[in-house]
Amino acid sequence: MNKGIYSIENTRQLAKNTFLTRLAGDTSAFCAPGQFINIALDGFFLRRPLSVCDWDGEGLTVIYKTVGKGTKALANLPAGTKLDVLTGLGNGFSVETSGLRPLLIGGGAGVPPLYGLAKRLIGKGARPVVILGFNTAEEVFFEKEFAALDCDVTVATVDGSYGKKGLVTDVLPQGTTYFYACGPEPMLKAVYDRADTSGQLSFERRMGCGFGACMGCTCRTKYGAKLICKDGPVLEKEAVVW
């Protein structure tokens, strides 16, 4: 965990109600994709947790849906705005167990952390298969970016307005070695139920702190109560209890 002041370099809209913001600042606290940051916003008491989409030596990107007042405020902040951010939170995905053909399954606002994950999997020689699920065409984002990494990408939309029609679980491929999933809980559950390999799932909880101090984000697991902000957000499939 690091607490620092980060500067908004730019924010651009990727899709309906979906924005990408690049923050400049220290990224030394990150050690794994799937970790998250927690952003303080003027006028809101609680910080807003967002998965890091990607990071490098100079900064990081987050991608977020504007679902409420906080994310809307964030999307409207001008470049140059300074933000108080906690970085390097949570455990993140482990790339050790992926095998050569890992399956990455993202739903909506769960897509962003898979990008940083895909990069790192490729870095260690894997060739990820990526499935991105959205409700409808105008919400689709980052298909090209994953393709540019040379991933094998399939997009599914619930209403069929783009890519394959259906849920991510309707388009699961064969022959993958492991899975990583991030998205709404019903999607995670469906993936868990259908998965024929081991894997990791990234969860969300309302958070009071983001660094293990409040016990607000507790989750039952096979190994007892765990904190999504500290022991998670990524849980091994084997640990998950529905």
């Binding site: 965990m1 607490k3 303080a40 809101f44 008491f45 609680l46 910080r47 108080d84 906690l86 909880r205 309302r206 958070m207 009071g208 702190c209 660094f211 293990g212 101090a213 409040c214 016990m215 607000g216 984000c217 507790t218 989750c219 039952r220 109560a225």
Partner: protein, 306 residues
């Protein structure tokens, strides 16, 4: 050099700033953030006789200038706390430790406090009487002076360490309850616990919290907490740990002026993991501005003309 030290029930604190129960785990988890020995004391997560999972999630909701929690006293039970957590804390921290004890019946409170009392790693016991009273119909022990007196009397018999009673603010007459606790043998009063509150998700048309209601804390409650500290200072002769929204050195001084001998910092430390440290570091320059060399001179000083 200014003197930040204060004395709580005979225990000397090098400064009056303490992370509040339930907002700093068992302390040792945060030893990598900064040297815990900078703190005035450490107050442990609320501990009960038996392990508790707590409430279902969502347990957290946002509020204007504050937050609502319905954690529900998640903790591994007093035995695990005393055998694992306190020793782990003692490895990295040498200052005063406050155990925060919850319970659902007089016997449970007494049994749990007795264990904490015997643990050498613990210096002060803070009795949280805001938990629902299972034998008394679900209202908390802190909701009436009579119930408060009963539980404090029983606990007093079971423990010799300084005993602070932590009061619920959700009452008509906080002073009356504080007086009952003093009469029953409390060495000090901690206040306030959280204000009962809730939020509704207008899209889903249902409460945000799985538990429906939760406790409001953070800056929003500061003026209410300050008023209660003021009233209790007038009502009793034992020291007060003041809390509720304290977020900066100015707030800490305001609490002291109202009558608190020390302050606990909860929500502010959840937002900013370094809040306690920043408050401690902010005190000397503020004292200089206010022309004070001994911080403890400020305790209750605003009462002088009232």
């Amino acid at each position: 050099m200014v003197d930040l030290s204060v004395s709580l029930g005979g225990i000397r604190l090098q400064n009056p700033v303490i992370p509040a129960s339930g907002t700093f785990g068992f302390g040792h988890e945060f030893a990598s953030y900064y040297d815990l020995n900078r703190l005035g004391a450490v107050c442990l997560k609320g501990t009960t006789l038996h392990p508790r999972f707590g409430n279902e999630t969502p347990r957290i909701a946002e509020a204007p200038a504050g937050m609502i929690n319905a954690v529900g006293l998640q903790n591994p039970g007093v035995d695990a706390v005393l055998q694992k957590e306190v020793p782990a804390l003692r490895k990295v921290y040498a200052g005063p430790v406050i155990a925060n004890i919850g319970g659902f019946s007089v016997e449970e409170y007494a049994a749990c406090c007795e264990k904490a009392d015997r643990c050498p790693g613990i210096d002060i016991i803070e009795l949280n009487i805001s938990c629902p009273n299972v034998h008394g119909g679900g209202m908390s022990f802190g909701a009436s002076a009579k119930d408060a007196e009963t539980v404090v009397k029983a606990v007093r018999k079971a423990c010799r360490k300084p005993l602070f009673v932590k009061l619920s603010p959700n009452v008509t007459d906080i002073a009356e309850i504080a007086r009952a606790c003093e009469a029953a043998g409390a060495d000090g009063i901690s206040l306030i616990n959280t204000l009962l509150a809730m939020r509704i998700d207008i899209t889903k048309r249902k409460p945000v919290l799985a538990n429906v209601t939760g406790g409001l804390s953070g800056p929003a409650v500061f003026p209410v907490a300050l008023r209660m500290v003021w009233q209790v200072y007038k009502a009793v002769n034992i020291p007060i740990m003041g809390m509720g929204g304290v977020s900066c050195a100015e707030d800490a001084v305001e609490m002291l002026l109202a009558g608190a001998t020390a302050v606990q910092v909860g929500a502010a430390g959840l937002k900013n993991p370094f809040a306690c440290l920043e408050i401690i570091d902010g005190l000397p320059p503020l004292m200089e501005k206010l022309g004070v060399t001994k911080l403890s001179d400020l305790v209750g000083a605003a009462h002088q003309s009232y």
